[in-house]
Amino acid sequence: MNSERRRSIPWGMIWLTAVIAYLLVVYFGPIAWLLRYALEGGGGSLLQVLGSSVTRSILVNTLTFAAAITILTLLFSYPIAYFAATSHGRTRNALLLVSTIPLWTSLLVRSVAWLIVLARHGPVNEILLALGLISEPLNMTHNTVGFYVSSLYILVPTMVLVLFASMRGIDPAHVKSARTLGAHPLQAFLNVYVPLSIPAVVSGCLLVFIIALGFFVTPSLLGGPSDRQFSMLIQQTVDRFADFTRGAALSLVLLICSLACLALFGWVAGFNQFMGGRYRGKSLGSLQRVSLKLRYLDVPLRPLAPVLESRRLWLIVVTITLVFMFVPYIVIIPLSFSDAEYLEFPPSTWSLRWYEEIAGSSRWLTAGITSVVVGGIAAAIAVSLSFVGSLGMRDAPGRVSRVALPLIIAPMLIPSIIYSVGAFMTASTIGLSDTVLGIALAHAALALPVCFILIATAVDGVDPAIERAARSLGASTLTSTRRIMLPLVRPVLYVAALLAFQTSFDEIVVALFMSGVQTRTIPRLMWEGARLEVNPAISAVAVLVLGAILILAVVTGIVQQASLWRRQRVRVEESSQ
């Protein structure tokens, strides 16, 4: 209700202010600091950076790559999301689970896995040679091929999730009514479903584009000379050459590019996308109408219709894509049991030596503990802030929440390398660099958007009358939140905490800059492992981490189920009515 009791404490505003304040200090502050650094001395370093033809060409490269990979990812992800959205129950859950499993494994490990899979003597080449399709092994690593394949692998799960989230809101009645009006399945799809899915496509493409802009782990490991990405340049400048001014200037350039893309997106899809409104951008409508032109594909595709309309065929295509998701695990898991000092696939000798080495290595154990502690703190902060922020967002006046929402989801929409550099510089100045707290605070900010979206959806899903009922029965606002709202959204809080923990646990970019001698996280060690000592240790760690996350997920699921079972228990004491 808008008009609460005149003299009551405006809890809504307080919560929201707390969350925004946190982000201002921990997220936007460092970025502002970075910008100040970059613009120091009249922006001389900025001009210098822009003046360098090398930098410019890398920037163009990066933008081109991001655009290309976004489109490719869309092509692969759309069918999967479509199937998940139009299936129910088990099929849907299975599709989603399988297509997003890669998200639970470290980015680094996934990239290294592709190095092995695409190697000259790797499984892909071996199979192609055996099938007689090629006579010489293909050169697929340290060049554009490997780079694109592994990037695709990394981006598809995210795109599938975003597409699915929007697509499942498409009322199946639309397609059905088109069929009753005489449209063949293909026509119905092109005329009705595709335009309706445009908002989903736009959201997915935006997110993936931003992520691709910030790529530097994958191109470092798998790319060739022509695949140099802008973020690599930033990382090199700051980390290896410690040229902070230039690094800040480069970050500023990347930030401007990202903001320009966001502005473009806002213009296309309507700015209320960021405000949590429904898709009402005028240009979105025209984009949908443009997509309607795709219906003319119906005519040339008509002869193929029986094939294209076969749900079975698409199921096979989707299955193949999903098998693609598992390819790295086929490599990582056996590799962790290899006995060799260097990466050798398939392993010729087997042993548990790498697991033993890690278990006995104080370096890895310390890193493990650090990662767990950092993850725990980050999850606690992210979930708490998201919960109170959701309450605040619900109770605060409209104009406040319209400003607050874009701020809260900003960390998701700005390439994390920009923030990492800023966070590193700020943290160094105030002595928080290389500390558990510093990294945890940063990770909490990065995990906040997803946690917030999850938890806010749950909070909004609670009938407001229930809280009013509680208050009418004598509960104060705080009591009502504690006894009514909190128990009702608790399952979602667990999931959000798990997600935040995993985000922090696998986070590499911030960790790379902000960890040092005293605090090293597992991703940091793995990065060094991949760059400086290439041995199966990292695959063993990856398997352990994946196992741990899976166990955590199962435990969370069990805890959730238990509380659900409690609710469904029926104990009829006296004779029932």
Partner: protein
């Protein structure tokens, strides 16, 4: 009065824990006074509630009747404390409660969708308000089971809301709102989600519980049948203003204007020549049929009409005193029938009479005379 003082005062009005346990189920019912309350929502031109003056006597069952947008729910929410009036005062037992937060008003509310806590059992739901008042566990349980028995849900204590039917959930909501003996009970269209038969049963039950408990009750609905059935008094709201407040009988027999007349029950409006005023009465001439009747008269700049309920009209063969006309159609409505007659002066009327074997049939086209007792007619 400063807010803190109000709040303390409000707390002291709560029945103490001991009173809750020791006493019978009867509540300390208070009188509710809504004094000149106005509420405007941002973005709308007309106020949701405008200068509303309304009182509910202690122990009375008042129904707020109105269409959607009439301001009835807003009024209820203001009494409950979730909406703040822009102007005016609300007094409970002659104490102003406008500055008292909802949790301290000691008001029981039954919401439209019951708003039961899904994660608590029936027992825990009903016990909740007692926990807020720090009643001891065993005492609370005794009280809970007692009230569950009263609403007829003795065996359902350990069930969860989603395991109950609509009617059962309704009763839990009622029990929860009454268990702490509130000064006043508010009900926001609680029966809207139920089917007709169940609704009828529940209406009776609520009346019974009201009689037993004696709580001052403010009940909101848009269903005029429900209003007439359940209320001690009915307040008809239109666009935020109070049109008329009266007993159901008076509302039905003596509507103050055309709106109320047509909102509560059906009504025929015939144009007639009138002379007179509201205090002395009106002389009416309708196509030669003359008589004298009461009525508050037409609203300014509106033509005068004669308002007659369908069941008041009599239809007989041609030639009798009355207004001449021809039957258009007869509709069979179960226990009664409706006869549509077009009068010679051009307007149509609906006559309702109980079906009986002795009643004369009037097939369509028959020429008839329509008459009535002038005592039961009104000029509006």
């Amino acid at each position: 009065m400063p807010a803190t003082e109000n709040r303390l005062y409000a707390r002291r009005q709560d029945p103490s824990a001991e009173e809750l346990i020791a006493g019978a189920d009867r509540t300390t019912a208070s009188r509710l006074d809504i004094v000149n309350v106005t509420k405007r929502f941002r973005g709308t031109a007309t106020p949701a509630v405008e200068s509303l003056n309304l009182s509910v006597e202690s122990g009375q069952f008042l129904v707020l009747l109105g269409a959607s947008g009439s301001g009835k729910t807003t009024t209820l929410m203001m009494v409950a404390g979730f909406v703040q009036p822009d102007d005016g005062d609300i007094q409970l037992g002659s104490r102003s409660i406008v500055n008292v937060p909802p949790e301290s008003r000691n008001i029981g509310v039954v919401f439209q969708n019951y708003a039961l806590f899904p994660h608590m059992t029936v027992q825990e739901n009903v016990r909740f308000p007692l926990q807020m008042r720090r009643v001891r566990h065993q005492d609370a349980d005794r009280r809970v089971f007692s009230i569950l028995e009263m609403v007829g849900l003795s065996g359902m204590a350990r069930r969860y809301p989603h395991q109950l039917s609509g009617g059962q959930q309704q009763r839990v909501a009622l029990a929860r709102a009454l268990v702490f003996r509130p000064s006043i009970l508010l009900m926001d269209e609680p029966l809207g989600a139920l089917d007709r038969q169940l609704r009828g049963r529940m209406q009776q039950e609520i009346r019974e519980i009201h009689r037993e408990v004696g709580a001052t009750t403010l009940y909101v609905t848009h269903d005029q049948d429900e209003a007439l059935t359940m209320a001690d008094r009915v307040a008809v709201l239109r666009e935020g203003r109070l049109e008329q407040m009266a007993t159901p009988q008076n509302l039905f027999d003596r509507p103050k204007n055309r709106f109320v007349a047509s909102f509560v029950g059906e009504c025929n409006f015939l144009s007639a020549r009138v002379e007179g005023n509201s205090s002395a009465g009106w002389d009416v001439d309708l196509d030669g049929y003359r008589g004298h009747c009461e009525g508050s008269g037409p609203e300014p700049s509106r033509p005068a009409t004669l308002a007659i309920r369908p069941h008041v009209l009599r239809v007989s063969d041609e030639g009798h005193p009355g207004v001449a006309g021809a039957v258009i159609d007869t509709l069979f409505v179960g226990d009664s029938e409706e006869i549509l007659v077009r009068l010679d002066q051009g307007e149509s009327v609906t006559i309702r009479r109980v079906t009986g074997e002795a009643a004369t049939r009037f097939p369509p086209g028959t020429r008839v005379t329509v008459s009535w007792s002038w005592r039961n007619a009104l000029v509006l």
